[in-house]
Amino acid sequence: MDPRLSLAVGVSRLSAAAIRRLGRGGGTALPGLLATLIDPGALSKLSRQLPGGCVVVAGTNGKTTTARMLATILEQAGHRVVHNRSGSNLVRGITAAFAEQSSLLGRVRGEIAVIEADEAAFPAVVRQTSPRIVLLLNLFRDQLDRYGELDTVARSWGEALRALPAESRVVVNVDDPTLAALTGELAGRRLAFGLAEQRVALDRLPHAADASVCRRCGTAFTYRAAFLSHLGDYRCPGCGFERPPLDVAAGSIALEGLERLSFEVTVAGREPWPVEVPLSGLYNVYNALAAAAAALALGIVPEVIQAGLAGMRAAFGRLERVSYRGRSLVIVLIKNPTGLNEVVRMLASARVEAPLLILINDLDADGRDVSWLWDADLEPLAGARFPVFTGGIRGADMALRLKYASVPEERLRVLGDLPGALDAFVSELAPGQTGYILPTYTALLALRRALAERGVAPAFWRQ
């Protein structure tokens, strides 16, 4: 027994329980902080106990959903999974999640861990957990005021990857040119995944595309297919750098409205097998493909992957449905221009004709700079007939963005901050009608609080 570790686990668990009893939310930051103060090696010691090792999932978009998908698949395979569920993805949140799933003697109850890591915390998480698998999803401009430039994040990831143990594998979305370049030297240990599909490609590179310039020589890429922002099948006319061959590919992609998606997985030229997921949007194809690729790298068979993905439920704020006062509310978290683009694309392609409420906050966790609203393509909303409401601390900025996207001003209304904005929006909906709510991160927390106070929705940390 390690008394220091045992004390760290005990304090973390007790303080988490106390915070929950006080009704102060999920409570992972403070307990994790206390645990790391008592034993700075806590995460390292706990994670090394796992016979199946750790999988660290990182990327700007989709890490919560992908980590949940992979955890679901592993549970389907009969494993007991340690997982930081509520999106607490800094070292202390992850430490608290481990403590929560350990005995008071500091023994972890689980066989394998699926850890979602924040972009900035990724190097530290990798250093402390020596992961068996690193799963890299994408790198977008997101909250750059916190992290500095994309290049800085990429460089710190590159250093972390070079320091990985020799037996670690890197499962990576090579449709992202930045990630393909970062993992180029890892050839033997890299499992490359991406889309092999022309039908879902965009007509042109969207404005929010971030990394459309070659990291090696500075030339702009040409795309044989652009799928989502800068993700696609690219080639540099300057130095010839191009998307590497795919080890695991998704093809025959079908997006069926807001309800489900399906695609076929092809592994190294063998017979493809189908996957169905009860989630929507091309970004969820990437998430499901990422989870499937990581599961394959862990030796899970296709049948189990299929069953796991079919049983997915939406994560916190990712297309959740709640009913309130006889109306149906669909909640979709938006964090950055690419995410917002995808939601707009999804609403447009499903021909959704329902009132929309977009809630924009600019607190630290949202990113204090709301400039990103102007990197998103809101123009598809210009022709729609439904009203668009905005709210949150920077609701006026969102309304202004929509005005310049040619949404007529008579369809725009600024509702102010939560919880008032929620009540005003719901009273605009007819009984039985569906309304879509698109909040940024802290607006989502405020929305959940407002709903909970009105007796709706369970508290998110219990999900």
């Binding site: 401009r141 750059l144 005021d145 500095g148 430039e149 994309l150 290049d151 404005h207 459309s212 310039v213 990291r215 500075g218 702009a220 600019d362 204090r368 700079d369 709301v370 400039s371 990103w372 609203l373 102007w374 990197d375 601390i393 920077r394 609701g395 006026a396 900025d397 309304a399 202004l400 963005r401 005005k403 310049y404 996207a405 040619s406 001003e409 725009l412 600024v414």
Partner: protein, 242 residues
């Protein structure tokens, strides 16, 4: 009437919503019945003298800034300088602004020569200056934006600031100046983007372009209720966070 908006390095230097400035210029022309065409001019693409009416140049990451600085050494940079000298309206934010001064000196690597349109120079600093900014400008009134830069810009004796910083860091975090003005050119650190929330700046650029191409014009006012609402909420956030 028609105006051509030239977006310099739109593909490589477009960070923190800078593209919103181009949208604002184009829409505020269209709402007044003025045709607006946007052309993007990238690295290696020549600038034809007299073709464009308004120039916009945004910010970018280090690598892209180096490519742009190199691209402007020669006839293209010379043409741009002459256009500005002859009164062409221009807005440059952050990285673009820095390259319109005499030089930009990074931490590592070579000093990047600028066009010297503004009597200003920029040196890489050690801390990143991030946050909401409120600027008092004699010419344009209260301006609001969001800054995010580590470069520190200093104005020479001929460098006239765009305004004085009321809240925020500004050019260098020391002398309370923000941005630089020369003829119809404006350089500054205001992301946000700056034009939608400060429409008087957009209209200044449009009016200067129309005057240059069509002689005396009066720009009809627009309903700026939402612009004012977004402006004042941004000012409130600046007051609350600083």
């Amino acid at each position: 009437m028609e105006l051509i908006i030239c977006w310099l390095y739109g593909r490589t230097m477009n960070i923190y919503g800078d593209r919103g400035n181009v949208l604002a210029l184009a829409q505020r022309c269209r709402w007044r019945g003025i045709e607006a065409r946007v052309i993007e001019l990238g690295v290696g693409e020549p600038l034809e003298p007299g073709r464009c009416d308004i120039f916009f140049w945004g910010g970018g990451q280090d690598r892209e800034q180096v490519a742009a600085a190199r691209d402007l050494q020669g006839p293209k940079g010379e043409t741009l300088r002459r256009e500005i000298e002859e009164g062409a309206p221009l807005l440059a934010i952050c990285g673009g602004y820095q390259l319109l001064g005499h030089y930009y000196r990074p931490h590592r690597g070579e000093t990047l020569p600028g066009l010297g349109v503004f009597d200003a120079w920029t040196e890489a600093g050690s801390r990143r200056m991030i946050g909401n900014v409120v600027v008092e400008s004699e010419e344009f009134g209260e301006l609001v934006g969001f800054e995010n830069h580590s470069g520190r810009t200093f104005l020479g004796p001929q460098g006239r600031p765009l305004g004085r910083v009321r809240i925020g860091w500004g050019n260098n975090g020391e002398d309370k100046t923000e941005g630089c003005r020369y003829r119809n050119a404006i350089g500054c650190y205001l992301h946000g983007p700056v034009l939608p929330k400060n429409p008087q700046l957009a209209d200044f650029l449009i009016e200067a372009a129309l005057r240059r191409r069509y002689g005396e014009v009066v720009l009809p006012p627009l309903d700026d209720t939402l612009e004012r609402l977004a402006h004042s909420s941004a000012v409130r956030r600046a007051q609350a966070s600083r």
